[in-house]
Amino acid sequence: MAYESPDFFALDELLTEEERMVRDSVRDWVEERVLPDISDHYLAGTFPMELIAEMAELGLLGAGIDGYDCPGLGPVAYGLILQELERGDSGIRSFVSVQGSLVMWPIHAFGSEEQKQRWLPAMHRGEAIGCFGLTEPDHGSDPGGMETKAKKTDNGYVLNGAKMWITNGSMSDVALVWAKLDGRVHGFLVEKGTPGFTQQQMKHKYSLRASDTSELILQDVEVPADAIFPGVSGLKGPLNCLTQARSGIAWGAAGAAMACYDEARRYVAERVQFGRPLAGRQLVQAKLAEMLSEITKMQLMNLRLGRLKEAGKMTPQQVSMAKRNACWHALQIARTCRDMLGANGITGEYQVMRHMCNLESVITYEGTHDIHTLILGHKITGVEAFR
């Protein structure tokens, strides 16, 4: 039985023909190119490198960027791309989010003209891969405490420090490293192979296994004067990037939830216990009803968020709510579906457990669930609770 994408409130009707066509193209591609092999990659702990060229060919990398050979796609269509990619696997969506929202977007927003010319077209074509280095071993939720430092030299800057948990970190041709220069956060573009710069894959993950998560070590790394972002300083640089990426994560998490729900719905229709299909049991129906309701709410929130972004009215707090809500419910849905598939649910023959494990990362990165709770709490009360 083919995948039936849940659309209980007929949101399709609120999409433009272009948005639907983009979504359908990516959906078909995921079905034929991602799903057949992703379980093997997940078990092997490898990212499907062979798909990068195909995603580039489709135009998915930095699809939201306008100019520099990029298509300038609207936020709803872009969100739908991420939703469909994560229907395949969170690792694939993470690759695209990092490349597009966390590296290309800041280069476009804060970079020099030379940096844009040099990187954006190549990154859109998938010929250069990027990563975003903010988190450090000792500073995750509180990036302002970062210890990575830059010092001005005669020819440029010298960087020292370490970044951890960096998606695409080892495969990257260019790392956007956030470091403090005279106590203020700045962005630096550090290229693969620069002396003193080590990119090292992290092993033994139980989550996001089909993704390159790495450590970046910077030991007296000398970069030229034009490696710094001229357009931004302070934490608002990285935080603005995260707002971009987080809105995409809300769409992505919905995609993972949709994949799990659809798989469980099909499974219980066929699985017979005590003489009839599980689908006819009230406990099972209660779960399906609950899950479809949550998926529908996520979809509504995402669509509205996309339209607000289109109109230039989206706030970081709205993004926090959408990311927090989608990740939380997607994870609950994945766990419920895992349970509904019984023993089959723990195998690579089905998707639920892979999504469930992936979502543990998705609910953690780009601001944990509780950090988004505190962002909302701050907005509601005017009182900051995290410091």
């Binding site: 066509m21 193209s25 135009g59």
Partner: protein
């Protein structure tokens, strides 16, 4: 080289088809539509030929108003322009469809006219060759390989009996089958350009009423199998039934 591809909107092969209450049409609710898969192969081949030799690709679709979706899909894949022959309803047999298509193709620049070997809903496999005849073009059906050079096409026509290799001077028409090309996924830029490409809308001539659809019935449910025995002993009876009852052995 100017290429025209005729394409039809059909229900997705994955859709569950049920007969509607009027017993004359299929239930449209919840049924996705697509470019008929063989036509989509023809579109892909046309695009590949254009990329290799230059020229234009025009798609022509006789279909209901909603077929703009499938037309845009072909434009998103890379076709340059489209003609939508808008069908306001009524029944048309293959000849009437062919006449309507030939009517809009006539007079347009066309070195190569492509069709799918059949649509996956009506399955007549007739329209392509009929249009070619009406336009006085040479036609080869069931094409699985197509190369063009110096105003000639070399094609492989594949059927149950084997492969015929045929050379034709252009302009010519071909109906194509699986194996010829693998349809591409529309790319983001293609999709964004699609809405800006020329789409000519023409009202299709009203059906002449030469064909009426009387009744639509789902295929009879298949009967369960029958076990005629076990092991070697069953072979004699099985052969007898296959030849005398099922008449699949002679």
């Amino acid at each position: 080289m100017d290429i025209i591809v005729c394409m039809k909107r059909v229900p997705d092969s994955a859709a569950k088809i049920t007969v509607a209450g009027d017993a004359k049409s299929i239930e449209q609710d919840g049924v996705d539509h697509v470019i008929s898969p063989y036509d989509e192969i023809a579109v892909e081949k046309a695009l590949q030929l254009k990329e290799a030799h230059g020229g234009t690709v025009t798609v022509v679709c006789l279909g209901v108003a909603a077929a703009t979706k499938e037309i845009r899909q072909a434009l998103a894949m890379g076709a340059d322009q489209a003609v939508h022959l808008k069908d306001a309803g009524g029944n048309r047999g293959p000849l009437e469809i062919a006449q309507a298509l030939a009517g809009v193709i006539k007079g347009r620049a066309c070195d190569l006219l492509l069709f799918g070997k059949q649509s996956i809903d009506a399955d007549n496999g007739a329209v392509g060759v009929m249009v070619a005849r009406l336009l006085d073009l040479p036609v080869v059906s069931l094409v699985a390989q197509l190369d063009v050079a110096d105003g000639r096409a070399t094609v492989h026509r594949q059927s149950e009996v084997g492969t015929e290799v045929i050379e034709v001077t252009l302009p010519a028409a071909f109906t194509v089958q699986r194996g010829l090309a693998e349809p591409r996924y529309p790319k983001i830029k293609g999709i964004m350009q699609a809405k800006k490409k020329p789409l000519e809308e023409i009202d299709a001539p009203a059906p002449a009423g030469t064909m009426a659809l009387d009744k639509l019935e789902p295929p009879a449910a298949r009967e369960g199998g029958r076990i005629v025995g076990e092991g070697k002993d069953a072979v004699g009876e099985l052969v007898r039934l296959l030849s005398q009852e099922a008449k699949v052995l002679s």
